[in-house]
């Protein structure tokens, strides 16, 4: 009896293995109407899932828009989604899966620098292409990665100058304890030194920390004009709430807050603070108005588009344009070439890829939060700013 059972088990295990091994089927059809496959790589669970849901929604809308408008020369774009659960090692695995098994032309995705850094060697070794939609600390270039989000010289540099002119000279720098905030703060100190400002304090809290009482008293006693923050996720939310409870007077200036965060902290805690990113929901132009309406109809979870959603959207639009421009949209090499100096009309303005460094020329915008928690765009750069990674 047990022998039979064992034979059965051996067979079962073997067949399971072969099945997983050859689980993917080639999509048929002729050359002309076969869809073009692209990979979409985000985490819908785990610590970075809040931002990544927005990136994902943005990308989804962009692809939908391209397909509704007839696709790429009549061919639809087919997205293959992979979820890496906020785990950089899994991100690399999934990127390999998308490239090797799904044979996608390009991947759009990843959110944190750690995930991007994990995927970078993968796309480089398989000569694939990653479109990275999030803003980050810069200092990286790869011919296999297109960076769609803003980097410090398009955001922090202008922000600090503007704050020095309009809000105050004494800065208190705060961030979560990892590379992005530290690089941003290091640069902020340089910008401040150049612009005649001063740093009265600098604090880092562990990623995800939500207890700010000692930090808040340090802020109080150092008496700054501006609290310059790159806190992210839960820490960011808790910081605004406690800052409000402590009734501190200095203005918060953030590089990471967006409409979703404002909703979590409430209008009271958020009011009068400044935010600097490349896109707000309240940007005024016809393309954006259509986009915001469309977003509400498509996403339907009560959220509004944020700069993260816009990053995902821009990434998708750029990719669509590049596919259209490339002779063979399934040839990654040609698609990557097509990105050079590519320009699109996005809700955030006319933006383009800088062929020298694969980063994007973006507008810089500063918003001020009003009593109702709405962001008013009070500054927009005259033209898109050249990226200097």
């Amino acid at each position: 009896m047990e022998k039979k059972l064992c034979v059965f088990l051996v067979c079962a295990v073997l067949s399971a293995c072969t099945l997983t091994g050859c689980g993917h089927n080639a999509s048929g059809g002729s050359e002309k109407d076969r869809p073009i496959k692209i990979g979409v790589l985000y985490s819908l669970s785990g610590v970075t899932s809040v931002s990544e849901k927005q990136l994902y929604d943005g990308t989804k809308m962009a692809i939908q828009k391209i397909n509704e408008n007839g696709g790429i020369h009549g061919r639809k774009i087919e997205t293959v989604f992979a979820d890496y659960a906020s785990d950089p090692a899994k991100a690399a695995d999934k990127a390999r899966k998308l490239i090797l098994d799904e044979k996608v032309t390009a991947i759009i995705g990843t959110c944190s620098s750690s995930a991007r850094k994990a995927v970078k060697p993968v796309v480089e070794s398989y000569h694939s292409l990653l479109i990275y939609p999030q803003s980050y600390e810069g200092q990286e270039q790869s011919k296999n990665i297109i960076y769609v989000g803003c980097i410090p010289n398009q955001q922090a540099e202008i922000f600090v100058k503007w704050l020095l002119k309009n809000a105050g000279k004494k800065f208190f720098l705060i961030g979560c304890d990892f590379v992005y905030p530290q690089v941003e703060n290091k640069l902020a100190k340089e910008y401040l030194a150049a612009g005649g400002g001063s740093v009265v304090g600098e604090e880092y809290v562990p990623y995800g920390s939500t207890d700010f009482s000692s930090v808040l008293n340090k802020i109080k006693s150092s008496n700054p004009d501006i609290v310059y923050s790159e806190l992210t996720g839960d820490s960011n939310v808790a910081f605004y709430k406690q800052y409000h409870a402590y009734g501190l007077k200095a203005t918060i200036a953030s590089l990471t807050t967006n409409e979703t965060v404002l909703k979590s902290i409430g209008a009271d805690a958020g009011k009068n603070s400044f935010i600097c990113v490349d896109y707000f929901k309240n940007v005024e132009n016809p393309i954006n108005q259509t986009f915001v309406k469309k977003y509400a109809e498509t996403i339907k979870d009560g959220t509004v588009p944020t700069y993260a959603a816009m990053g995902g959207y821009n990434g998708g639009l750029f990719l669509g344009e590049a596919l259209r421009k490339a002779k063979d949209p399934e040839n990654t090499q040609q698609v990557a070439e097509a990105f050079r100096e590519l320009q699109i009309d996005s809700p955030s303005g006319k933006i383009s890829i800088d062929g020298k460094n694969n980063h994007t020329r973006l507008y810089c915008r500063i918003g001020k939060v009003d009593e109702k928690g709405e962001i008013h765009v009070i500054f927009t750069s005259e033209k898109p700013i050249d990226p200097k990674p």
Partner: protein, 286 residues
């Protein structure tokens, strides 16, 4: 001087929150020997109840707290009756099962509300200053409220019939059953009470902390540390333990960062266990 005072006051507030979170766990563990890994998620349930009550139903904060207690207590009852009771006498398995429950609760809330943090308005606004030190009124409320809950719990355990039963079972379960105490019922009620306290902790933290599906983890670890320092079955020990954890994190956080403070507290715990295995304040019990 001011800064030391500031740190001590901050520490008191964190201590109160830690104590509130740990109290429920200590009560449950003391009576049933069950370590509830879903304790952090009960705190989360409390916080989300506060969110639903204040933002969606428009109730005031006091009602929200009552509801948070009720919701978490209900979750506790379900857990006790459906899972914990079936695994009586197998603490490791119970722990594992509660871990399963914690994953379930996290994902349920994640699916229903989404991963983003939710907003709960702060019920008591304003603050006052002692010299350079700012103290929000809400912190004072937190400390007082936790002290009151603590006192109430101690009274409940020492003065009421129910408390006497709980203590009898804690000391000798078999004997208590012989004397006609319905231990199953006492277990359920205690589990519900402990869970309810966790819910209260969640509601209390909601206005000043982040309210998200994965908020429970840090509370769980802090509760563990506190209850191990204090001796897992002792209220007084837990109170002192939470003061130690809260104050040392705050004081050390003033000079270095939170991580160093956490590591030191952990080393202290290991030392406590080495030299006083029953915790600092537990009565000798064999």
């Amino acid at each position: 001087m001011d800064s030391v005072l500031a740190l001590l006051l901050n520490g008191l507030n964190s201590s109160a929150l830690i104590l509130m979170a740990a109290l429920g766990m200590v009560i449950i563990c003391g009576l049933m020997g069950v370590i509830n890994l879903a304790h952090g998620e009960l705190i989360m349930v409390g916080a989300y109840t506060a969110y639903c009550a204040t933002q969606l139903l428009g109730l005031n904060f006091a009602a929200a707290m009552a509801l948070a207690f009720a919701a978490a207590a209900l979750a506790g009852i379900l857990m006790e009756v459906l899972v914990v009771r079936r695994l009586a006498g197998r603490p490791a398995e119970t722990m594992l099962a509660t871990f399963g429950i914690s994953v379930l609760l996290q994902q349920l809330v994640n699916i229903i509300f989404g991963a983003q943090s939710q907003y709960v308005a702060i019920p008591i606004k304003g603050n006052f200053s002692i010299g350079k030190v700012v103290v929000p009124y809400y912190n004072i409320f937190t400390v007082c409220f936790v002290a009151a809950v603590m006192a109430g719990t101690v009274l409940l355990m020492k003065k009421t019939k129910f408390g006497r039963r709980v203590r009898a079972i804690t000391q000798n379960r078999d004997m208590a059953e012989c004397l006609g105490i319905d231990s199953a019922r006492v277990d359920t009620v205690t589990f519900a009470f402990g869970s309810g306290l966790a819910g209260l902790a969640g509601a209390l933290a909601a206005p000043v902390k982040s309210v998200s599906p994965f908020m429970g983890g840090p509370y769980l670890v802090n509760s563990f540390m506190t209850s191990v320092v204090g001796g897992i079955a002792s209220f007084f020990g837990t109170a002192v333990g939470s003061l130690m954890v809260g104050e040392s994190t705050a004081l050390l956080g003033g000079v270095s960062n939170d991580v160093t403070a956490n590591i030191l507290v952990f080393l202290m715990i290991i030392a406590v266990i080495r030299f006083k295995p029953e915790g600092l304040f537990a009565k000798e019990r064999r």
